[in-house]
């Protein structure tokens, strides 16, 4: 299978020892997009939510406190860098590692908000993310066991897909869905959208969607449909 049929022409590789990054227009665009958003988050203030006060004509302003702002911004930047790494890596294990990191910092971003509903959501999301790490790394391990490599470039050269590779892909999908909190685990993250902190909410949404798009590319490379 030719990687170019998915993400466009292969522009080059960056070998860093065992870690090989490869560049197609698709990977480069997603990598650049994640970095631009991360930079934006690093330099932005948070918004002030204005809500109508019940029983009077006054407004209630909800702001993010300084301590909460600092820790959430730090975690958001880490999440952005992990997302950028996941977009460009050429190794299934590195991909799963970065997705697990995204899950961990997402829990942090949510749980830094001191509101009961949000903390409950963070707890539930944390449980799902922790449980999902087993199929995530298990999937990568089975791919290594069944192909002898974790390099996406090497896997793309294989001319076959064994049932174990297919099984590993199913585990990977489960793991990615849990770590990024997409449907059907989506409800665990919904509460956090009530809180102020638009730049930090962005990175949770950004990491989920970009990881899903990258996962489609990786899964199509592992499971050669023709």
């Amino acid at each position: 299978m030719d990687i170019a049929t998915l993400g466009g022409q292969l522009l080059g590789q960056i070998p860093l020892g065992d870690i090989v990054l490869y560049l197609t227009p698709f990977n480069l665009f997603m990598f650049a997009g994640a970095l631009i958003f991360t930079t934006l988050i690093a330099i932005s203030r948070t918004e002030t939510q204005v809500e109508a006060e019940f029983g009077s004509l006054n407004d209630n302003e909800v702001k993010v406190g300084l301590k909460e702002f600092k820790i959430r911004r730090f975690l958001a930047v880490v999440c952005g860098l992990a997302t950028a790494g996941a977009m460009i890596t050429g190794d299934v294990f590195n991909f799963t590692l970065l997705v697990a990191l995204i899950g961990i910092v997402n829990i942090g971003i949510v749980s830094a908000v001191k509101q009961i509903d949000v903390l409950n959501a963070a707890f539930q999301y944390g449980l799902i993310a922790m449980i999902a790490s087993l199929p995530l790394f298990g999937g990568a391990a089975i791919i290594l066991a069944s192909t002898g490599t974790l390099s996406i470039l090497e896997i793309a050269q294989l001319s076959f897909t064994t049932p174990m590779m297919f099984f590993a892909s199913v585990l990977l999908i489960l793991g990615i869905a849990g770590e990024t909190g997409i449907a059907p685990f989506y409800a665990t993250k919904a509460e956090m959208f009530r809180t102020p902190g638009s730049p930090f909410i962005l990175i949770i949404h950004l990491s989920s969607l970009l990881v899903i798009v990258r996962a489609i590319e990786i899964l199509l490379i592992i499971n050669k449909p023709f």
């Binding site: 998915l6 993400g7 997009g33 989506y186 730049p199 590319e217 199509l220």
Partner: protein, 287 residues
């Protein structure tokens, strides 16, 4: 043609045609509802108007995020024009662009501090949960043509005929996606009038202009991708006729259907996605 000139020309065409198609859509909807309706160039004039109006920013906004996010929406759809008509690149890349656009739509709403923007933001996250499965259409196209590169898909159709006949349910899925991006659509929950203008509520002057330019380019690009990927190699006239026909058809649908509530909107879209994915796979196995 010089690459930069090619990009500029295509972006200009996308903006102008997208704006006029929106105008046409409003005109058709008005006529169906027995109103005279605005002139067809109204959307274009409306967009240009915002560039000469005063720009003001709410004091509650997350700066500079609030300004950057509206500008980025424009940049994202210009990237889509480069990936599509200019270089005929990968559909997977187009999906990436669409994902980034959903994120921008989501955060344009939440970054202003307005409760209407915030509600639109939450609805944008909901709608992403429904629109992403609809984009599984790409995988079906890939399974059928063995490529995601647009120029190769065009060549495939030149030899094997339009994909709309071989994978019609995938075409239906993409049509539902286009429908959900049109204004006044039953699925347009992020800009429902119950939340004023949704994520655009607190954007004035130049920023609103950027958002409107992006909408026009987005409309053109979605129609371009649909026609290119499902109908095949078309000339300029073919594209124009196709875009007008789809816009008029969508105007008919929008004028006679109410805006669904968010839960119903998502469930209808997911139902279409499910039917499209399973039906297409079954059809591909049988045929």
């Amino acid at each position: 043609m010089n690459l930069m000139a090619n990009i500029l020309l295509n972006v200009l065409i996308a903006f102008l045609i997208g704006s006029l198609l929106f105008g046409l859509q409003r005109k058709v909807m008005a006529r169906i509802q027995t109103r005279p309706g605005p002139p067809i160039i109204q959307h274009l004039l409306h967009t240009l108007k915002f560039f000469i109006k005063e720009s003001s920013f709410p004091y509650t906004a997350a700066m500079p995020f609030y300004i950057a996010i509206a500008s980025m929406l424009c940049a994202i759809w210009v990237s889509a024009v480069i990936v599509g008509p200019v270089i005929e690149g990968s559909l997977l890349l187009f999906f990436g662009i669409y994902a980034l656009q959903k994120i921008v739509e989501h955060n344009a709403g939440s970054s202003s501090g307005s409760p209407y923007g915030k509600l639109s933001c939450v609805r944008a996250v909901f709608s992403a949960a429904a629109e992403v499965p609809l984009f599984a259409v790409l995988v079906i196209i890939y399974l059928q043509t063995q490529t995601m590169v647009i120029s190769d898909i065009i060549n495939y159709q030149a030899v094997n005929g339009p994909l709309i006949f071989t994978i019609p349910l995938a075409a239906l899925m993409f049509f539902v996606l286009i429908l959900s991006k049109s204004p006044y659509s039953p699925f347009a929950i992020t800009k429902g009038k119950d939340i004023v203008s949704g994520y655009e509520t607190e954007h004035f002057g130049v920023l609103r202009g950027y958002l409107m330019i992006s909408e026009s380019i987005a409309w053109y690009m979605l129609l371009w991708v649909f026609l290119t990927v499902f109908i095949g190699p078309l000339g300029i006239l073919g594209y124009l006729v196709g875009m007008v026909a789809i816009s008029v058809l969508i105007a008919f649908i929008n004028s006679i259907t109410p805006l669904l509530n968010p839960n119903h909107s998502i469930m209808v879209q997911i139902t279409f996605a499910f039917i499209g994915i399973v039906g297409s796979l079954v059809l591909m196995l049988v045929m």
